[in-house]
């Protein structure tokens, strides 16, 4: 069965109209229509809205072609508004596309939300029947799986209690259990694992992976949590502004998706444009940062110049430098030596030895602090202040740095003793 297709999507488009969709009431619609007929201004449009945009089309999905094979666990990633949810809504037949067709081979279950149709007054058991039926199971099928569902949900003690007495965690566990035990060949999940405790999340992921690998089900999974995507999916697509920008290996897809949101490498950064947290002294501000070369050789130094504006002189200032990899993991931190900040504009150069950093892309936060009688005072914080990369220039023993397996830090070389 492995070669067969589960889902075939061809030229899928979904258009939404910008502006108001109808007046909402019949009279308002008639008024708008009458105004349009007489070429007058629509009395129902909001004041100040650009007339050209009203009725303009917004393509939530703009031509998606995709084939999903049977037994595949496909991840769907993309930033907010990329069209992920619209795609799932069309696949689960909640709304119809504007153009294009979809063919689905097999029964399909969508979990766009867990516990849809749960009614608080009914008991857990009654809700299992209800929810199962909504998701397309027959009573006989539910009876058959009842034990398994209760077992998986970990709420056996409360199964005959109305779900309004449940904690939210129990509620979600029960709801997920029903959905996970459906007899359908294709499962669609929209971040349903974001709830529940860590153990339960892992259990769900395991169940889903089993469904895909052992039972041969097809799983479509949308999440912003890249770790769950990594664990579950063997293929991944990246959506951006309604278009499919990548389709292939999961790691590569995640890289592409994360690059979208990561800071750009530039030679100059305007730090005043960063949003600041409150509660700082507001005496000194970091304004501008210049990097001569933002692509550093492996054993070279990262050099940057920082311009500050200071209202009154500050003694014993120093710079804390916190380093992140492009996934946002904190790698480490360091301090500069102290200097005295004069009032007015001033510039200072810094250099960081990058020999410990593996090739790859990084970004940094910088924090301006000072020491006054042993007390640390924070003057200014620039989150995601700048980005730089380390170049792979001398390959060690002809081995490329395996970032995924080895991490971002090159430890000092291991010496043979004796």
């Amino acid at each position: 069965m492995s070669g067969e297709n589960a889902i075939e999507i061809r030229g899928l488009k979904k258009q939404y109209r910008l502006g108001q969709i109808g007046g909402g009431t019949l009279t308002a619609d008639l008024q708008s229509w009458w105004a349009r007929v007489r070429h007058q201004e629509d009395p129902n449009s909001k004041i100040g809205t650009d007339q050209r945009r009203i009725g303009q089309a917004f393509m939530a999905l703009n031509g998606i072609d995709l084939t999903v094979k049977k037994g595949e666990a496909l991840g769907i990633i993309g930033s907010n508004g990329a069209g992920k949810s619209t795609l799932l809504k069309i696949l689960s037949r909640i709304t119809a596309p504007t153009e294009g067709t979809v063919d689905i081979y097999g029964r399909i279950t969508s979990m766009l939300e867990v516990g849809t149709g749960f009614s608080p007054e009914m008991t857990g058991r009654e809700n299992i029947y209800m929810n199962g039926a909504i998701l397309g199971m027959s009573r006989a099928e539910i009876d058959e799986k009842m034990e398994e569902i209760i077992e998986f949900s970990e709420v056996r003690e409360f199964i005959d209690t109305p779900v309004k007495r449940y904690s939210s965690g129990m509620y979600v566990k029960l709801a997920f259990s029903v959905a996970a035990h459906l007899d359908s060949e294709i499962m669609i999940m929209d971040e349903v694992l974001a709830v529940g405790d860590v153990n339960f999340q892992q259990k769900c992921l395991k169940k889903m992976r089993e469904a895909a690998t052992i039972e041969g089900k097809t799983v479509l999974y949308v999440s912003h949590n890249m770790n769950t995507i990594r664990q579950l999916c063997n293929r991944c697509i990246v959506l951006n502004s309604g278009k499919l920008v990548f389709c292939g290996e999961t790691e590569k897809a995640i890289e592409i998706y994360e690059n979208n949101s990561v800071l750009e490498k530039r030679s100059e950064y305007d730090l005043t444009r960063l949003s600041r947290i409150t509660g700082l002294t507001n005496v000194a501000r970091m304004e501008r940062l210049r990097i001569a070369c933002s692509d550093v050789g492996m054993n070279q130094q990262l050099k940057f110049e920082l311009q500050c504006m200071c209202d009154s002189p500050i003694q014993n200032t120093m710079l804390r430098f916190v380093l992140f990899d492009k996934r946002g993991n904190t790698l480490g931190a360091t301090y500069s030596n102290m200097w005295d900040l004069v009032s007015g504009h001033s510039a200072r150069e810094f250099a960081l030895d990058c020999s410990v950093l593996a090739p790859g892309e990084y970004y940094a936060d910088i924090i301006l602090i000072s020491y006054d009688g042993g007390i640390q005072i924070r003057h200014d914080i620039a989150i995601k202040a700048f980005a730089f990369s380390v170049r792979e220039d001398n390959i060690l023993y002809n081995m490329e740095w395996n970032r995924h397996g080895w991490g971002c830090i090159r430890l000092p070389s291991l010496r043979t003793e004796g």
């Binding site: 909402g24 596309p97 149709g117 909504i134």
Partner: protein, 284 residues
């Protein structure tokens, strides 16, 4: 992987045909229809002291008020039938129709939350609404029968016993009629909320052009009678009275016309519904 591939093939395309209702699929979801019916019935009376007694209390009070106002004060004749039975029968039949219509009319707007998250044939909702109203009607009918048996035993009414066998047909007709109207309204309310307002008092007004609080025979043979006869609910109410109370106007022509009207309304309803159900989430 028990089923072969082609058994469940879903084809999704932008536009639907005009009569695109998959009855086979609807049949597969029969358990869901039953569960919704049960839920509608049970949930209304959860956390009420009197519970299902409300099903009986409501029409009973209405009947008493009608007997007092229309029978006592206004002195409207009841075709020689005991007033209590006359009004109770009318209220039960009308109540069934009105409940079906009112509730199915809010199918899309009232269930937007569920409809927006999961797919099942949307017709499941209005159908189960009608069925749970039928259950309510059954309870009310039982109450009606208690009084009826008393009056029959004391010889105050002479029912057409054979006619009573037609009751399921009459109620089925009413249910379909209400379903058709409700589905049209609910399809249109996805865009125009005005209709939701209209339904509220429209149904109340409709009752007065239906012989619920008066018999058809009081209208004489003029225009008014023809107008009232055009109302497709009229024949059902009159037939109900004819069956149980032996008084009422069962007119073959009126039945033929009404059934035709009902068929058109149901057909239009299903058509509009199947047009709207695929995209209503974008406008509701």
């Amino acid at each position: 992987m028990s089923e072969p591939n082609h058994q469940y093939h879903i084809h999704i395309q932008p536009k639907n045909g005009w009569f695109d209702i998959d009855l086979k699929e609807l049949w597969r979801y029969r358990d869901l229809i039953w569960l919704f019916t049960k839920k509608n019935f049970i949930l209304v009376y959860k956390q009420t002291i009197l519970g299902p007694a409300w099903i009986v209390l409501q029409p009973l009070m209405t009947t008493l008020i009608y007997t007092l106002v229309f029978g006592g004060i206004a002195g409207i004749p009841t075709d020689g039938v005991p007033q209590l039975l006359f009004y109770m029968g009318g209220t039960a039949v009308w109540g069934f129709f009105a409940a079906c219509l009112n509730k199915t009319a809010s199918t899309f707007t009232g269930n937007a939350g569920v409809f927006g998250k999961v797919y099942f044939p949307r017709l499941v909702m209005p159908i189960s609404t009608v069925l749970s109203s039928a259950v309510n009607f059954g309870v009310q009918l039982a109450m009606f029968l208690v009084f009826w048996i008393y009056y029959v035993a004391t010889g105050q009414v002479t029912p057409n016993y054979a006619g009573i066998l037609l009751l399921p047909l009459v109620m089925g007709y009413l249910g379909l009629l209400a379903l058709g109207c409700g589905v049209i309204i609910s399809s249109l309310t996805t865009k125009y909320r005005d209709l939701a307002m209209l339904v509220g008092f429209g149904v109340q007004l409709w009752m007065y052009i239906t012989p619920v609080v008066y018999p058809l025979s009081t209208l004489g043979d003029g225009m008014l009678r023809t107008v009232i006869m055009m109302n497709p609910v009229t024949c059902a109410v009159e037939t109900f009275r004819w069956m149980f109370l032996g008084a009422g106007d069962v007119n073959a022509l009126s039945w033929i016309v009404s059934t035709g009207v009902m068929a058109v309304i149901v057909a239009v309803g299903v058509m509009v519904f199947s047009k709207v159900e695929k995209t209503f989430m974008d406008t509701v």
